[in-house]
Amino acid sequence: MRDFYGTTLTTGLMLGTAQYPSPAVMMDAFKRSAASVATVSLRRESGQDRAGQDFWAIIRDLNVHVLPNTAGCHSVKEAVTTAHMAREVFDTKWIKLEVIGEEDTLQPDVFGLVEAARILSEDGFNVFPYTTEDLVVADKLLNVGCEVLMPWGAPIGSGLGLNNPYGLRSMRAHFPDVPLVIDAGLGLPSQAAQAMEMGFDAVLLNTAVAKAGDPAAMAEAFAGAVHAGQLAAKADPMEPRDMAAPSTPILGKAFLI
């Protein structure tokens, strides 16, 4: 596994903590997913008088790395404020940075994202930016101090999978040494396997598990898919070809029957 700001993760699955039917179901899902990271969105209202602390305690008890996020922030200022609150609440420098630019697709505002990433990196945060597959934006994020990139697969919560495999492949090829996480848009384990086969270092998902009829079973399915994809990427998969290539030799086979 690649290094995320000095931390080596045991598995390539990062799982969100929102939208589960209950915390008990969420805890089961984490157990069966073997996720190494839990993302948690912090509402500014819950942070003010630490009114969210009962739920935060449940998340700490998951015993995985906590990656707080700035979900739902629409401006640099909001995102920076939320990040500071998260650092205080969870005692971590990690922050998944989301700056939303468009309400319908929840597409990142990449201009605000780079700016917020710069401010937070200078302030000592380890920023995990939620970005697109745009290479120029990726480069700017690295320049302002990000050491991890989190391109989207598809819009948040859409379950559409890897929308632009070409763009994601080229991102992987462009930044061979940067830890890359597919964040958002995954709906099925096969899509997670596809991302891992393409050489991504991890996938991050929430809705696909939390909104499944049996979240814990779906979490286990994703765990298997991530493992399979990772193993396949390491095993150096064959190249596809247009012609059939029989796996047993046909030379010398009787043909006059």
């Binding site: 209950s22 915390p23 509402r43 209202e45 819950s46 969210g52 009962d54 909104k211």
Partner: protein, 331 residues
């Protein structure tokens, strides 16, 4: 006659009081504000008796035990409307409706024309929906007042005091029904913040609760009669009992507007907020330690599950049965 003290006069306390009084116990109820009011979660409840709809995300006991609720409330308060629940979505969110149908039972899929006939004020706006015709609803404050009046008539006394259940348990059987107020004594209880609105809108008539499904903002509207509607409710992992955010109001109101733009002209009568008491699996618990019984964790199912919880408390006290809602933890 067994004397039993109940602490907390919200939906849990009153239902437990009713069930115990029905078994001839000598019951007194303490509430820190004396009467029903905005300090209780149930004051802000939707009052939907919708066990099948709740099955979309709740555990099986909610669906099963919740089916007792409509008859119980009808018998004790005569304040139940049995008109079912209508579940709809905007065309672009049809996937939500399909998913909701897959996760629930006891409904029929109805057409746009059926919706128009059932709810003329939604006519032409929705082309398919789910009708849960065995579900019901009530007006929470009315129902609780009926319940309280009935208890007083039957000799139950009500006192204003912020009573400590542990102190009263030394003197006899005591049931702690204080909801989130008991958080300091119940470690695994948490608050789930809910915000709601009460609107007056003479231009809209609805005959039954309507749930509008949306991937981000789900809304339900419960008609209270005379053009009064309850709009609810947010679900936020927070124990905050104040502080209604502008975002929540915007979300609730824009969802109501999507249901029927006439809600845009509604008068906002009340804005409510409270923290629902919940255990990690969002199911209620009955716990006992000698004379002290704690009944808590009704989450968003106060009116739906309090009758079953009250029945179990009574059965535990009078029949020595172990309630289904009991776990290994001591009160």
């Amino acid at each position: 006659m067994t004397q039993i003290t109940i602490i907390g006069g919200g939906v849990a306390g009153l239902c437990v009081a009713r069930s115990l009084r029905d078994r001839s116990a000598d019951v007194r109820v303490f509430d820190r504000h004396g009467a029903l009011g905005p300090h209780a979660c149930s004051w802000w409840a939707g009052g939907m008796l919708a066990p099948f709809c709740e099955g979309e995300s709740a555990e099986e006991p909610v669906v099963r035990l919740g089916q007792e609720a409509a008859d119980w409330w009808d018998a004790k308060t005569h304040a139940v409307n049995r008109c079912g629940t209508l579940v709809i979505s905007l065309t672009r969110d049809k996937a939500e409706l399909i998913r909701f149908g897959r996760r629930t039972s006891n409904f029929e899929t109805i057409s746009g024309a059926d919706i128009d006939a059932l709810e003329p004020d939604l006519a032409g706006r929705f082309n398919t929906g789910l009708l849960f015709k065995d579900e019901a609803h009530l007006s929470p404050r009315l129902a609780l007042n009926h319940l309280r009046d009935g208890l007083i008539a039957d000799g139950v006394t009500f006192e204003t005091a912020d009573a400590d259940p542990e102190v009263y348990a030394r003197g006899g059987l005591t049931v702690d029904c204080r909801g989130f107020q008991a958080r300091d004594k119940i470690n695994d209880l948490r608050g789930v913040k809910g915000e709601m609105l009460i609107l007056s809108c003479k231009d809209v008539t609805l005959n039954r609760p309507v749930r509008l499904l949306h991937p981000r903002i789900s809304l339900y509207v419960v008609p209270r009669g005379d053009g009064i509607f309850m709009l609810g409710a947010t679900m936020i992992e927070s124990s905050q009992k104040s502080h209604v955010t502008a975002r929540s109001l915007l979300e609730l109101l824009s969802a109501a507007y999507a249901l029927n733009p006439a809600f845009g002209e509604a008068e906002v009568l009340e804005i409510g907020v409270d923290a629902r008491p919940a255990f990690p699996d969002n199911l209620p618990r009955i716990r006992r330690n000698g004379n002290l019984i704690r009944a808590n964790g009704l989450f968003r199912h106060g009116f739906l599950l309090a009758p079953a919880m009250a029945r179990m408390v009574a059965e535990m006290i009078f029949d020595n049965t172990r309630p289904e809602m009991m776990d290994e933890t001591s009160a």
